[in-house]
Amino acid sequence: MLMNLFKFKGGVKPPTNKTQSLTLPIAQAPLPSRLIVPLHQSIGGTPRPVVQAGDKVLKGQLIGKADGWISAAVHAPTSGTVLEVAMHVQPHPSGLDALCVVIEPDGKDEWIIHGPLDYAAMTPEAVREHLQQSGVVGLGGAVFPTHGKLTASKTVPMDELVINGAECEPFITCDDLLMRERAEEVVRGIGIFRDLLQPKKVLIGIEDNKPEAAAAMRAAVDALNEPFLVVQVPTLYPAGGAKQLIRVLTGKEVPAAKRSTDLGVQCFNVATAYTAWRAIAYGEPVVSRLVTLSGNVHAPRNYEVLIGTPMGELLKLAAPHPDTDGIVMGGPMMGFLVPNEQVPVVKATNCLIAHSDRVFPPKAPEMPCIRCGACAEACPHELQPFELYWFSRAKNFGKTQEYHIFDCIECGCCSFVCPSRIPLVQYFRFAKSEIWAREREKNAADGAKTRFEFKQLRDEREKAEKAEKLVKVAAAQAAKKAAEAAAAAAAESGAEAVETVAAPITAVDAEKEAKKATIAAAMARAKAQRDAAPARNTAAVTIEQQHAIDDIEARRAVLEPAPQTSAAPPAEKAE
């Protein structure tokens, strides 16, 4: 292969330990007793559960609906009954719980109705949508929803599509065996990515310690007559890091706070390409993945494992030695000890290593930093881990950011070479999560402040509006009264009015006068109404009643000397 390869700075060569698990072909793991399928298995929004306890599900049936664009659906890995949708411990260093769908397999492994899609007729949008609905995520370990990376940038032309088959971490061989045994489907999957992104070149990077995989991929590329380049890259950890592989294959260095797409490069894992092809060509969602079982075991091997299989149960297939005291998920460089044996295999689980002090001898105690600079030489991102270490240790987070802590990919090279055995990566993780937490708190505080200030503003505005309204009402009433007073004065005396106007009277007097006038007018109106209304209950009165009425009227006439006209009509009527 005549291709100019580039180099990234640093890197280490840990013992690869890959041969143990390469002797046997991929095997199918048997159905476990139960499956614990976490809903949140990808970066982005947590899928919402669409099943509940007691539901019967079929293999491939949707159980978690994608929430938002950056999120991927989750499916039932086999047919059976949903036991519960509850919180279970996650394969995460925290050992905390998250929502999982627990399924009891019925043993039939019965698929939901599915079939190949008419790929040629599908629009790019439909393909992306289908990949999201099939739960296709980056299986290299970052589990970023693949469809989110398959939209070509409008501003930057897509130069290279890099397919990552480097698999640089020790012990892990699942991508190696996938390429050996299923190269054709991987290449077809790469074809889908090529169609969506339209890159100028497609480069498949494989470390040169996997000649069989590279040969199989070359044969598949030739058989399918694709213009893809299979490139063997030097074995050097972490050549499988996306930025490192891009650097080696294209010479492009992805700057801090930029993505490879800004430089016209996009990177996918080989297993992602495989699942994308299965999703399109067979309509199969991601319900299983290849997992390497290795470490302190009798029979290391790669298995095709259903998502949700409890790790302890799975590891039994490889017959762990009796002194096994834990399970490491991932490789020895970046992996972590899982909280317990019940945690399930997820889409990010590429390898389980049985842990024992024999395989991983305990580290001698941490010593002070001797400022040798070995970590800086090993860092593949050209950072200065010793500086980052001091500032992280001193909790001087501003300084760690000045030294670009967020460019650190936590590959573990610095800890690997440190002669003082300082757990450098742990310090960096601590600093990073602390900075993120502060950022969250700051944002929350800023939001609270803005809302508080807006509420104050609103309260003040409402108060002002109320006061204004009151003033307006008072003014309107005053104006009305003044007008009435003027009218009353004018009505009282036509000729005198001239004099009153001429006479200098105070506003208070005028108001008083107006009030008096209105009261008088109202009383007069009321009286007139009373007088005008005829008594309605006097139509059919007997003679005795009439006499009684007459007596009362007579008494009233005595008390009220005013003229009585109302007594007359009933009397007239009675007559």
Binding site: K395, A445, R451
Partner: protein, 187 residues
């Protein structure tokens, strides 16, 4: 004559520099007190009033004037006191009240009568609802200030501590673990 010339030069210098300073003081006048803003940036903005001031800003103003202690903000915790002490060059003091874990208010929607009193009390608009309709708390916006508890006539609001979950989990400081192991052995 030399003395007069010297005085004249000095006077001229004084006038020129004075004019420059006067111009600068008008041109580069800082609106508001930058110290208050810095203090406010440290305060947690819960607007809870536990410090005795109606909101974080009045407390920040009072601190800037030097009228009050810097240890009156329980939601800010000892870390907040430490930061204020660093900023103002004052001594670190123990927090007046006890430090509480971060919490969030929860409305029991079966009991809520829809009186809107809590909505009016919430300083950060984290409660939604309408008269005679059920109210609820927008949990991500709640600062846990507890100001909605006293006005509720049916006591349907309770405070719940925010536990550790996968979204807010943090990697621990590596040394802390080693210390803990030593303590266990000692015990």
């Amino acid at each position: 004559m030399d003395i007069l010339l010297a005085i004249a030069i000095m006077a001229l210098g004084a006038v020129v520099l004075g004019a420059a300073l006067g111009f600068a003081s008008v041109k580069f006048k800082v609106e508001g007190d930058p110290l208050v803003e810095k203090i406010e940036g440290i305060l947690p903005q819960t607007q809870c009033g536990q410090c005795g001031f109606p909101g974080c800003k009045p407390y920040a103003e009072a601190i800037a004037k030097g009228e009050v202690d810097i240890n009156l903000c329980p939601p800010g915790g000892m870390e907040g006191v430490q930061k204020l002490a660093d900023l103002l060059g004052r001594e670190v003091k123990e927090l007046e009240a006890e430090e509480k874990p971060k919490q969030v208010a929860i409305i029991d929607e079966n009991i809520c009568i829809g009186c809107t009193l809590c909505i009016q009390a919430c300083p950060v608009d984290a409660i939604v609802g309408a008269a005679k309709q059920m109210h609820t708390i927008i949990a991500p916006l709640c600062t846990g200030c507890e100001l909605c508890l006293p006005p509720c006539p049916v006591e349907c609001i309770s405070m719940e501590a925010i536990g550790e979950n996968l979204d807010n989990w943090k990697w621990k400081y590596p040394v802390v673990e080693i210390k803990a192991a030593v303590l266990q052995k000692a015990a």
